[in-house]
């Protein structure tokens, strides 16, 4: 008698403990899930790297470009940016929650290649001669915002200015360019323009042996800060071209998520109700393990820093289906064994054992498919595959072991013996032994 109530007590203790754990943390888990652009809103750009003529794109170039983009994204202060290399020459930048898309686009795509040239466009100094992180926005004597740079070598700058200052104006100008294009830009074409393509062209009136250089480009404070940040983030080693961009308004994403979550909730509730109606007592166990399953999937998915997207939700639905299927397979087997006249305990044992082989085969085949999709697929396909793998592994734990543990406590307490109706088995269907 004591043993019987001990097992049933253990069952309720587990349920209460799990119930408390879920109800206390579910909200935080849901909140800490990273939502993809299609659910949260934000901005996404796919860039294609364009190596200079005749040059091969190396693995190094791609990594360097990706990390330069990463530093620029830091400037924007995006909380969960995602920068992924795709294929051989593409980099996808995803910026969830970014409000000013134009600023983001500009910041990302500028090459930020600073160059100092003479009036005939000969290169004197390039961005490589700058001290890392040495740029800042400051104010000059007239309280005008300017950008201050630190050079690696003041001596070299001195020699250049030494050479320039003897020239008559305007040939003593040191022209400062951002993103100079050889075929497009020339100093003499731009000097007459109201808004020249170069940043500034200060006259050099004396040799300047200094490692501090300022750019007075008639900037606003924001422009000066932007330029300083871009220069600090470093230039892009390879030119990039935007091949795809996608902007999702936040409110559209929010509504999509609310509606979809509600729909998912309705769907899962219907599944649980159906399971309880059809499988009675075992259905209740299934409802408990399915709830734990959804909770665990979200925890696991968060812990591998997964990003939930619409395809991810699709995989979650498939995962719920497979978790339900594992329950159904086991329960159907148990019912078959019960109808064969086996005792409650041996029907439970034989049913669980025989269903396990089927469940393993079905899950392994689907995992193989998901692993191949993950390995060979890109973006949306990969997101689907990750969620599917997480779902299947979790469903295996909850639907097989969770179910067995909970059901086993009741079966072994013997309090269910001969209560066929609790399993949805009609007593007249049970084959009587001899």
């Amino acid at each position: 008698m004591g043993k019987k109530w001990g097992r049933i007590g253990a069952f309720f203790a587990i349920i209460i403990a799990v119930g408390i754990l879920i109800s206390q943390t579910a909200f935080d888990v849901a909140r800490s899930t990273n939502l993809g652009l299609d659910l949260q809103g934000g901005f996404e750009v796919l860039y294609e790297l364009q190596p200079e003529d005749g040059q091969e794109l190396t693995e190094n170039d791609i990594q360097a470009t990706a990390s330069a983009l990463n530093q620029r994204v830091d400037v924007l202060g995006v909380s969960e940016p995602s920068i992924t290399v795709e294929g051989e020459d593409r980099i996808r930048v995803q910026l969830p929650g970014v409000e000013d898309q134009e600023e983001a686009r500009e910041l990302l795509s500028t090459e930020a290649e600073l160059s100092f040239r003479d009036v005939d466009d000969n290169l004197m100094l390039s961005g490589e001669d700058l001290e890392q992180g040495g740029a800042s926005a400051v104010f000059d004597e007239q309280n005008q915002p300017i950008v201050q740079l630190t050079l690696q070598d003041g001596q070299e700058f001195g020699e250049i200015t030494e050479e320039l200052y003897t020239n008559p104006p305007p040939e003593n100008s040191l022209v400062i360019w951002l993103d100079y294009e050889e075929e497009e830009h020339a100093f003499y074409d731009e000097i007459g323009e109201a808004d020249p393509a170069f940043l500034s062209a200060p006259s050099v009136n004396e040799p300047l042996y200094t490692d501090t250089v300022t750019i007075q480009g008639g900037f606003t404070l924001e422009e000066a800060e932007f330029l300083a940040e871009v220069l600090n983030a470093g230039s892009l080693p390879v030119q990039i071209e935007e091949v795809y961009s996608n902007a999702v308004g936040a409110s559209l994403g929010e509504q999509a998520l609310e509606e979809t979550l509600f729909a998912g909730l309705v769907g899962v509730s219907l599944i649980l109700l159906y399971m309880m109606a059809y499988y009675r007592f075992m259905g209740v166990i299934a409802a408990i393990t399915l709830s734990v399953y959804i909770y665990l999937v979200m925890i696991l998915f968060n812990s591998i820093q997964g990003v939930l997207t619409l395809p991810g939700i699709a995989a979650l639905i498939l995962g719920v289906g497979m978790a339900v299927d594992a329950n159904i397979l086991t329960y159907e087997r148990i019912k078959e064994e019960l109808k064969d006249g086996k005792s409650m305990k041996s029907a439970y044992k034989a049913g669980s054992r025989r269903a396990l082989g089927t469940i393993i085969d079905a899950n392994v085949t689907t995992i193989i498919a998901a692993a191949v999709l993950f390995y060979f697929g890109t973006s949306a396909v990969q997101g689907f595959a990750v969620m599917l793998i997480v779902s299947i592994l979790t469903s295996f734990i909850t639907a097989v072991y969770g179910s067995r543990l909970l059901l086993g406590l009741w079966i072994n307490s013997r309090s269910l013996n001969r209560k066929y109706w609790l399993f949805g088995v009609k007593e007249r269907d049970v084959r009587r032994g001899l």
Binding site: N246, A247, E259, T365
Partner: protein
């Protein structure tokens, strides 16, 4: 009150007898799909056609005229406007070809002023969508190969072949239905087809697992009818499970189809079609196909020693 029990094993249902009709039906469906695809083709969304799409929503119900007027303010004329949402408070306007960056900014600024929320502007070159589709196709092909290898090791090669045939049928049917209804094909659709593929594998393997188990119990297959009987029994034994599983998954898929966000309506619909097709192919197609192939192999093996004996 709830006394339904799909206890089919005891009822005398023969799922094998009419197999030729099922085969004819299946082939007819595939042919119809092929004709549809070659004549009507697919309604490729902006993911696969170059262009720009502006999605936005408003507090008030919208009309097409109103939207055309608002676009006229920024000097643009959309090629297509679709209204969505319960009271038409959502809309999407499509432009074939690209918009200039300035035009995008104009639209975003103007529509935010008018409707109070920033519209969702997506531009895409068809190259990216097509690459994704081709990539998904190749990945699915390789996944199918992996499944055949696993099933060939765990089960037997013929099971794998029949499972893959059923899987391809399911995926093809979903694509054909989208061609028939001219529903838009977008990137989530690819995920939906992948879901269907995953479900189809799961469903077929469960049935095949039971067939394998029951075939093992038989000492020797004496005739076609004998093997057919074993297959039929296996199908009936797993029928309750097949129906219950598809019903539960359909609960989730239909709920998302009818109640979910506009953006995934067609996606959920694809899953619903695929689930139904998957159940059909597991019950009426995959096992029957395996049965016919398997019996041919058995016959061949039986005849082999005889013919060799005749020669010697």
């Amino acid at each position: 009150m709830f006394a339904v029990d799909f206890n089919m094993a005891k009822k005398n249902i023969d799922l094998i007898k009419h197999r030729k009709k099922y085969f004819v039906f299946t082939i007819a469906v595939v042919l119809a799909g092929a004709i549809l695809l070659s004549t009507m083709g697919l309604n490729l969304g902006i993911d696969f056609e170059s262009g720009t799409r502006v999605d936005f929503m408003s507090e008030e119900p919208l009309t097409e005229e109103e939207i055309e007027n608002e676009f006229a303010v920024v000097g643009l004329e959309p090629d297509d406007i679709t209204l969505a949402g319960e009271n038409n408070e959502q809309a999407s306007a499509q432009f074939i070809g690209f918009l200039e960056e300035g035009e995008v900014t104009d639209i975003q600024g103007h529509f935010e002023d008018v409707f109070g929320s920033e519209p969702n502007v997506s531009t895409v070159s068809p190259q990216i969508g097509r690459e994704l589709a081709i990539n998904a196709l190749i990945a699915t092909g390789l996944a199918a190969l992996g499944i055949v290898i696993y099933v060939a090791i765990r089960f037997e090669f013929l099971y794998g072949l029949a499972a893959i045939t059923a899987l391809l049928y399911d995926a093809f049917l979903v694509i054909s239905v989208f061609s028939l209804l001219q529903l838009e094909i977008n990137i989530p659709f690819i995920a939906a087809v992948l879901t269907v593929v995953g479900y189809s594998i799961n469903d077929t393997i469960v049935t095949f697992d039971r067939i394998r188990e029951n075939v093992k119990k038989e000492e020797e297959i004496t005739s076609f009818d004998h093997l057919a009987g074993v297959v039929n029994n296996s199908l009936l034994q797993t029928l309750t499970r097949s129906l219950n599983t598809v019903i539960t998954v359909l609960f989730a898929a239909v709920a998302i189809w009818l109640l979910g966000s506009e953006a995934i309506t067609s996606f959920a619909f694809a899953i619903v079609i695929g689930m139904i097709a998957g159940t059909y192919s597991s019950l009426f197609f995959a096992a029957q196909l395996w049965l016919v192939w398997k019996y041919k192999v058995i016959e061949k093996e039986r005849n082999k020693p005889v013919s060799e004996a005749e020669e010697s």
